[in-house]
């Protein structure tokens, strides 16, 4: 859809002329353009169209016969005459506040919201200052648990409808509802079930009174004790803008820092509550050295010395794996350390393995990059090989909004059923790992050329149904030509990764996505800063700015193989643990076992680190880091240190520079004294970042693809490619195809946060009713899933939507992770 044009109109508020975009709701226009505030309770732009329930916003509008109008729901137009300063308006505002306060307890002194409460502010600003209500107020039990994360105080609720509208219209989980009617109405869930959903915490911030409060934050601080510090959450690629509530160098709370181009003002519960992991005892906050099989705290000097000595020994026989929480600057420094100080090119940030440079460049081509905003302005969005709610949660809400409010047609092409299926115009399943083959089949279907047989063969290769692929192609064409493909990095993983990338590029070429407004590719990398790390050169086959290297190193998997084979001896892990991130646990167990030195920068002793690290450096959490990260849609965003580094934690960039310096033994480069110098280095080394400054990035970030320097992007291979037809997807033959996924809750931070620990997954074996019946498995029973020799156990989870012939297992969990067994086919039986 063409992005709507904004037309400015002139209108007056109390005789003063105001200019604002036509159609904007008066309450917003007054605040943003009119330097005056119309008080609101129920209205919030983020919740969608106004409902006009609370009546706080009554204003007078000329020509409406004196009947007051709800300012939250009057779209501004040329010549509108608005009056706020009239006795009628004032009386109405006072009356509404008096009505609201009838049942609102005056327990502000013991209320968490006190001091940052819209009701307090509005009572002060617009209230009459006294109440004529002498009857007893209502009293109920309070506070009550609404979920492990949220407490509800129904006495304080003013029935503004925000939280339930959120649950129904934004997150669409429809768990939080109103029951009863009139003044008996109250907010609740079904039959005493807790409100647990990936985005439930947003209702805390939406509540304009202290009725919904954060249980982890309750009574921890008062607004005058705290400071807010803005930064970026790097727990996943969504990179939501957050504001941390800090008291005495501790993060007490995470709030959204509304950025329409990134997060739309929402957070997922991981982002909102996993701050707790910053301050838990389990966190690594001192350097540690393995001594007699045990990791023991040591001094920084000893740890650094040990590492420098070990790296001197291993030299170019060192490999490095870099995880998504690493900043661009740290990535750049690590690349330098590896390639310049050690002479090793064996570093990688993509667990899926190497892609030819030409394809990497082709996929990253600036003219082909869609923005987050495009998701709602496009005609159609094709979600390909990713599950937004797990992989980039906040975009799940964005896609729901796109469908609900912008009429965007959503198409789902995934191996596992998606939570967005019900909102999709069409959903198609294919066999696990066959995303690329599916893209190829879809391209054939779209081309309209070729006979049915070719399409059926291509669909069969993906384990998909030809007719469904054709139907998807048809309705995709019908939806319009502005299409965004939201695709998961895992599409390009594995041996056929390059072909998959080619198929994807062919597909976008077929759809003509390059250079088109509101269209393009939007990749969901597997690490939070996956895109930035690539652009900073954390790849075996590319340097900063995806520059060509004199030679290529080993990719992620080959580093593991080389370690296992003794060809590499040392391994550096930066925010990374292959035992969680890689899908081949068996290989990595051997590799880590065999490595003579494993150097980890880690916040938690995750399985690989706990069992195999020789040295552990405490890694900074995102609240302690400074530097930049790059959002999947190419927005550079700035991490700002919000609290002192905890314990003995030191800046990671400093440590990397220090180790490199000691290894090189000389001051070859000017010493890096402050973090901003590394950023400057980054902007200089990456040609398409040239000229950027931290100031320019500021609090809102900068999409580099929109700057003129984007032209410095190195040209890549371009479509059309000829792609070898994929071999047919494995046929189950009595066994089941193995599919894996990483849940939003499968993360060490979730596990370490006391409030979230209840969400940390255990193995759940998703299986279709037909397969379950055939295998004699009941819902909730213990089952064993295995290939040759290795097996994991889990709980059978029979789902109506699960595709027959495939079983899905959780990855990236501590025990019984799917990475411990090998596909493509597995046997499932009752334990």
């Amino acid at each position: 859809m063409p992005r709507p044009e904004v037309k400015m109109v002139k209108f007056t508020i109390d005789g003063r002329e105001v200019e604002a975009p036509e159609g904007m709701m008066l309450a917003d226009a007054a605040l943003e353009y009119g330097e005056t505030e119309i008080p609101v309770f129920c209205y919030d732009k983020k919740l969608g169209p106004p409902v006009g329930a609370c009546r706080m916003c009554l204003v007078e509008i000329e020509g409406m016969g004196g009947k007051l109008q709800a300012g939250c729901s009057v779209p501004v137009r040329e010549g509108l005459e608005v009056k706020l300063d009239t006795p009628e308006v004032k009386a109405a505002q006072e009356a509404v506040l008096e009505f609201i306060l009838i049942n609102h307890p005056l327990d502000c002194p013991v209320c968490d919201k006190g001091g940052e409460c819209p009701l307090q502010d509005q009572s002060f600003g617009w209230g009459g200052g006294l109440s004529r209500f002498v009857e007893p107020k209502r009293h109920f039990e309070k506070p009550l648990a609404l979920s492990p994360l949220v407490a509800i105080d129904r006495e304080r609720c003013i029935l503004c409808y925000r939280c339930v509208r959120y649950s129904q219209d934004v997150s669409e989980d429809y768990q939080l509802v109103l029951e009863e009617r009139g003044s008996d109405t109250y907010v609740t869930t079904f039959d005493g079930h807790p409100y647990v959903a990936p985005f439930s915490g947003n209702i805390i911030e939406l509540c304009p009174v202290g009725a919904l409060t954060s249980r982890p934050y309750r009574f921890r601080a008062r607004p005058w004790d705290i400071e807010q510090a803005g930064t970026i959450c790097t727990l996943c690629p969504a990179q939501c803008n957050v504001s941390l509530t800090v008291r005495d160098e501790r993060v007490l709370r995470v709030l959204q820092r509304d950025h329409e181009e990134v997060d739309d003002g929402w957070l997922c519960d991981k982002g909102r509550f996993a701050y707790q992991a910053i301050h838990v005892d389990e966190r690594v906050t001192t350097p540690m050295l393995r001594d007699g099989g045990e990791l023991r705290p040591v001094t920084w000097e000893l740890a650094i010395e040990t590492v420098v000595a070990a790296l001197r020994r291993s030299g170019e026989k060192t490999g490095a794996l870099v995880g998504g929480e690493t900043s661009n600057e740290e990535g750049l420094l690590l690349g330098n350390l590896m390639r310049e100080a050690l002479g090793s090119f064996d570093l990688d940030s993509r667990p899926g393995g190497e892609l030819p440079l030409g394809l990497l460049r082709g996929l990253g081509e600036p003219r082909l990059q869609a923005s987050v905003r495009d998701l709602e302005d496009a005609h159609a969005v094709l979600v390909l090989d990713c599950e937004p709610v797990d992989d980039i949660p906040i975009l799940d809400l964005r896609l729901r909004k796109a469908v609900r409010h912008h009429g965007v047609k959503l198409f789902m092409a995934t191996d596992r059923p998606s939570s967005l299926d019900e909102r999709a115009t069409a959903s198609v399943r294919y066999a696990p790992g066959c995303g690329g083959a599916f893209a190829a089949a879809l391209e054939i279907a779209l081309s309209g050329a070729g006979d049915l047989d070719a399409l059926s063969a291509a669909a069969a290769a993906a384990g998909a149904d030809g007719a469904q692929v054709r139907a998807l192609a048809d309705s995709l064409k019908e939806a319009g030509d502005e299409v965004v493909i939201l695709w998961g990095e895992r599409l390009t993983a594995g041996e056929r990764g390059a072909d998959s990338a080619r198929a994807l590029l062919n597909l976008s070429d077929r759809l003509g996505l390059s250079g088109k407004d509101c269209a393009g590719l939007l990749e969901v990398p597997s690490g939070a800063n996956g895109r930035g790390l690539r652009e900073a050169g954390v790849l075996p086959n590319a340097g900063p700015g995806l520059s060509e290297l004199p030679r290529s190193g080993r990719d992620y998997r080959r580093i593991g193989e080389a370690l296992a084979a003794g060809e590499l001896s040392a391994l550096i892990l930066l925010h990374s643990d292959p035992m969680l991130d890689a899908d081949d646990g068996e290989l990595w167990e051997r590799a880590l076992e065999k490595a003579s030195t494993v150097i980890a920068h880690a916040s938690f002793l995750t399985p690989g680190v706990r069992e195999h690290a020789t040295v552990v450096f405490p890694a900074e959490s995102y609240a302690e880091k400074e530097g930049t990260v790059t959002h999947p849609d190419s927005r550079l965003q700035r991490l700002r240190r919000s609290i002192a580094r905890q314990g003995e934690t030191r800046a990671e960039w400093q440590l990397l520079a220090e180790i490199a310096g000691r290894l090189l033994d000389i001051d070859e480069r000017p010493p890096m004294v402050v973090g901003s110098m590394v950023s400057r280095q980054l902007f200089a080394d990456v040609p398409f970042y040239n000229g950027l400054t931290l100031d320019e990035i500021g609090g809102r970030g900068v999409r580099w693809t929109e700057r003129p320097e984007a032209s410095a992007w190195p040209a890549g291979d371009s479509a059309p490619f000829t792609v070898e037809p994929a071999p047919p997807a494995a046929s189950p033959n009595g066994l089941l195809r193995l599919g894996t996924f990483r849940s939003i809750w499968a993360s060490p931070e979730v596990q370490a946060s006391p409030a979230l620990a209840f969400l940390h997954p255990t193995q759940r074996v998703e299986i279709s009713p037909a397969d379950a019946q055939r295998l004699g498995i009941g819902h909730g029973q213990k089952v064993t899933v295995g290939g040759e020799g290795r097996a994991v156990t889990g709980t059978a989870w029979i789902r109506e939507g699960a595709p027959e012939g495939t079983v899905f297992l959780e990855n990236a969990i501590d025990e019984d992770s799917a990475s411990m067994i090998e596909g493509p086919l597995v046997e499932v039986r009752r334990s």
Partner: protein
């Protein structure tokens, strides 16, 4: 997950009953049970729905351009089967409709005829709104309550205007309107309700001729009411 940390609060937050004018609504004081799983859309794979109920709801869904319109008919179907809208019945209906049970409960509690708390299956309403109360409805309700006291099969309630002020004071017995009900016929009416007999056959609304004297075949000017 234990709920203990909420109890870190000082005692007085939860224990003081300062006033007795709380709400009649039991839900106000209800907390979530943190041992339960969240109530998402019930998955057909683990929700058993009896065939008749499924068929009834699906037939309703087919009647409307948007299946959500079947919410009220589905809830009535559950109420007919269980006597009230039981959580289990709501879960089953939600499963058939593909909505969350919370959605259906939210709808059910909005409407006076749908019961979400346990009650008897026989619905007896006495109109106590203005016209009926001008004609003695409150006394009628009191008398009937006395007669039916302790009967668990009958859900007797005072009700808002039932749209039958011409037969005030009146009673609706499972949808059958009777009135005007003289106080001395209350015991007989109560007996009929309990026995499941046709209530006061001579006083049923559907059998009444028009009051308008211009209507041919009408009873002419109505017999004047003596008890007003």
């Amino acid at each position: 997950m234990s709920d203990r940390d909420l109890d870190l609060l000082p005692e007085f937050h939860t224990s003081v009953q300062r006033f007795d004018k709380g709400s009649r609504i039991p839900g106000w004081d209800r907390a979530a049970d943190l041992d339960k799983d969240p109530a998402e859309v019930p998955d057909p794979a683990d929700t058993e729905v009896p065939a008749e109920l499924r068929a009834e709801i699906e037939a309703e869904m087919a009647r409307f351009p948007d299946i959500h319109s079947a919410a009220i008919p589905a809830l009535f179907a559950v109420q007919r089967r269980d006597g009230w809208c039981t959580p289990e019945g709501i879960r089953q209906a939600a499963c058939v409709m593909g909505v969350t049970p919370a959605y259906l409960t939210s709808v059910a509690t909005f409407y006076d005829m749908l019961n979400t708390e346990p009650c008897g299956p026989r619905q007896v309403y006495v109109c106590t709104n203005i016209s009926c109360s001008l004609c003695g409805a409150d006394e009628l309700l009191g008398l009937l309550q006395e007669e039916l006291q302790g009967n668990e099969e009958v859900n007797l309630r005072g009700f808002e205007c039932l749209g039958a002020c011409d037969i005030a004071p009146m009673v609706s017995v499972d949808g059958v309107y009777v009135g005007p009900v003289p106080f001395d016929e209350v015991p007989e009416l109560a007996r009929q309700i309990v026995a499941g007999e046709d209530p006061l056959p001579g006083r049923q609304l559907v059998k009444r001729p028009s009051a308008d004297p211009k209507v041919s075949g009408s009873a002419g000017p109505n017999p004047e009411r003596s008890d007003a």
